[in-house]
Amino acid sequence: MTMIQALRSALDVAMGRDDNVIVYGQDVGYFGGVFRVTEGLQAKYGRSRCFDAPISEGGIVGTAVGMGAYGLRPVVEIQFADYFYPAMDQIVSEAARLRYRSAGDFTAPLTIRMPCGGGIYGGQTHSQSPEALFAHVCGVRTVMPSNPYDAKGLLLASIENDDPVIFLEPKRLYNGPFDGHHDRPIVPWSQHALSQVPSGHYTVPLDSASVFRAGTAVTVLTYGTMVWVADGAVRDTGIDAEIIDLRSIWPLDLETIVTSVKKTGRCVVLHEATRTGGFGAELVALVQEHCFYHLEAPIERVTGWDTPYPHAQEWAYFPGPARVGAALQRVLEA
């Protein structure tokens, strides 16, 4: 399966198992979503289980909070992560706080799917990676898969989780992995083992990272598209890096991170989002706190620049394999 098919399969399985799972968002119903993730669901489950929504992100998330309070398990879509801002109040002030402020009287078991990330000439409003804004909010979980197998398993785990989950989908990975070599032909998912996705129910646990590539020289902490870019940089440089795919951004799997960095003694943090106040800063702080005496070099951060995501300068902005490779080299030589 491609990542799109895997996500669709997760929704199909979830809707088939639980009548309380409701899917809606802009263009999600009849049309099946602008990225086809919800294709066929309305025909299969009917208009009251999968439907189109007005162009109102605050309304989509706000109604989902109300549905959650009723006892449903809404899975809503924000067309692009760049457009979640009108729903910020409902996410931060409501979904994230409801269990806490009502001492468990009400909960918000919703999943908010949003395609994120760049590398697609999406310009300023089709490329953003806002995960740091969610990681700062207590009460929500933030998740980002990097391949079809994890995408389905993590989405099912997110839907079944009773906490509100922000589910970020790197749209650059929808149809195939991408190592940042934009000048080379794209390899589809079908040629990759991680596209072997069971058709039935399974989950990938939240709060658990995966060691995407075992290595000994340096640890790369990353997630989403950048997992593949890190892999590309390893191939280009021949450096034996251990690539950790966080999968769950927050809460995260600290143990896997700490075990790896203690082993390698070096760490590069990699994300597409802008640098300052980005989630990488939290990762650097955690590694510094927990692995200080094992570190043999300063921790490096490779990130997007502190600018809005440009259109024409796409590949100068996108942290590609050359930039990542240079950082790996620097950390090894330090």
Binding site: G62, M67, A69, Y70, G71, R101, A103, D105
Partner: protein, 414 residues
């Protein structure tokens, strides 16, 4: 050459400021009984007259007149009177307790008691209200929510059902159909619509009731809620409590000048009523109308309740700095408790003596409840939930980072 005059920014102002009387003619009142009662299946567009007029039942002599006069037994009216009085006395006592530093903060609903209390009579078990901080009448009209438990929340003490996490007045009572009140204005209005959509999705028969003040209608969620309620024909009553003030800001600043909040509904394709919020019978009848419409799959109703915020915005507010001190006395729709009392007396179903006895009973009940609540401590004497409780319920399970922080709090303190 430009022949137009220099443009001028219009900044709305109330007619009344401290030292100047309010000219209440802006309210555009209709006489009691003057408005028709359309059938509940009326298309939204055909309710424009009721959205711009004012539904009233009780006339100046306390008689119930006109087509909206509800078929309601005196016993129900007495229950309503009791609940309104209980709400008012509760508020007064809690304001006092705040002054005595037994609680940090309070919000009263003085003058607005009829709206929550009469609608509570119409709603059924299982329905869900999405209230603001000024609908305590929904809780105080019930006998299954103990007064002392409410006071424990206000005092954030060891028996606070919300474990000291929430500001006073921001209650949560799922079992009473009272959704957790948020400090963020307007958010709950769209959530009410979502809850109603869920009830419809499940083929249930429950309805939702959303609440918002005049000031907060300027928030995006107000119009968002109208759109979603209309699009999905959600079984929801959308209540706008127009008490003329949003802290120090007159309702004209929320867009009320020369238009009604009810009329907003018509533009969104939602049936709308503008109702005398201090007329218990009118509130009952209009709520009944909207509830019936919602239960029959005929969609949402927007109701503007015309009332007046009789007290300060909160215990942190001093209204004499922005409005006439005696404004409420001149508000043409009077006091909801006095008006229902007058009606019941006119029916020979009530008397000043019975009123006095009831008041004493309620005071005694309140005193006992406050004593019971205080026996569990108050915020200011430090008898609050342990610091450990601070880390629970952020997530369903305690995640590793919060376990670490709880341990740090244990060893290091605040």
């Amino acid at each position: 050459m430009n022949s137009h005059p220099a443009l001028q920014l219009h900044v709305p102002e109330p007619t009344g400021r401290p030292g100047h009387k309010t000219d209440f003619s802006y309210l555009r009142l209709s006489p009691a009984g003057a408005l028709r009662r359309p059938p509940t299946d009326t298309p939204a567009a055909d309710t424009a007259d009721v959205a711009n007029g004012l539904v009233r039942v009780l006339d100046d002599q306390g008689r119930a007149v006109g087509p909206w006069a509800p078929p309601i037994r005196p016993e129900r009216l007495r229950q309503g009177l009791r609940a309104m009085l209980r709400t008012r006395l509760f508020d007064a006592r809690m304001v006092l307790a705040q002054r005595q530093k037994k609680l940090s903060f309070y919000i009263q609903c003085l003058g607005e008691e009829a709206i929550a209390v009469a609608q509570a009579q119409v709603l059924q078990p299982g329905d869900m209200c999405f209230p603001t901080y000024r609908q305590q009448g929904l809780l105080l009209s019930r006998d299954d929510i103990s007064l002392s438990e409410l006071i424990c929340q206000l005092m954030s003490n060891q028996c606070d059902p919300l474990k000291g996490r929430q500001l006073p007045v921001l209650h949560s009572y799922k079992r009473a159909g009272f959704f957790s009140v948020s400090g963020n204005l307007g958010t709950q209005f769209i959530q009410a619509v979502g809850w109603a959509m869920a009830s419809a999705i499940q083929g249930d028969s429950k309805i939702a009731s959303g609440w918002i003040g005049d000031g907060a209608t300027a928030e995006a969620e107000f119009t968002t809620a109208l759109t979603f309620a209309h699009v999905y024909r959600a079984p929801v009553i959308l209540n706008v409590v127009n008490n003329q003030w949003a802290i120090s800001t007159f309702q004209s600043m929320a867009g009320g000048e020369g238009s009604t909040f009810a009329a907003r509904g018509i533009g969104y394709g939602i049936a709308a009523l503008r109702v005398d919020g201090n007329d218990f019978l009118a509130v009952h009848a209009a709520s009944q109308w909207a509830a019936e419409r919602a239960r029959n799959n005929q969609g949402p109703t927007l109701i503007e309740w015309l009332t007046y915020r009789g007290g300060p915005h909160s215990t942190s507010d001093d209204p004499s700095r922005y409005r006439p001190a005696d404004d409420w006395q001149h508000f043409p729709l009077g006091d909801p408790i006095a008006r229902l009392k007058q009606h019941l007396i006119a029916l020979d179903e009530w008397s000043d003596e019975r009123h006095e006895t009831l008041q004493q009973e309620l005071q005694a009940e309140l005193l006992a409840a406050q004593q019971e609540a205080e026996s569990h401590g108050t915020l200011l004497d430090g008898h609050v939930f342990s610091a450990d409780a601070m880390f629970d319920d952020v997530y369903k399970e305690l995640p590793a980072h919060l376990r670490r922080q709880r341990e740090q709090q244990h060893t290091l303190g605040g």
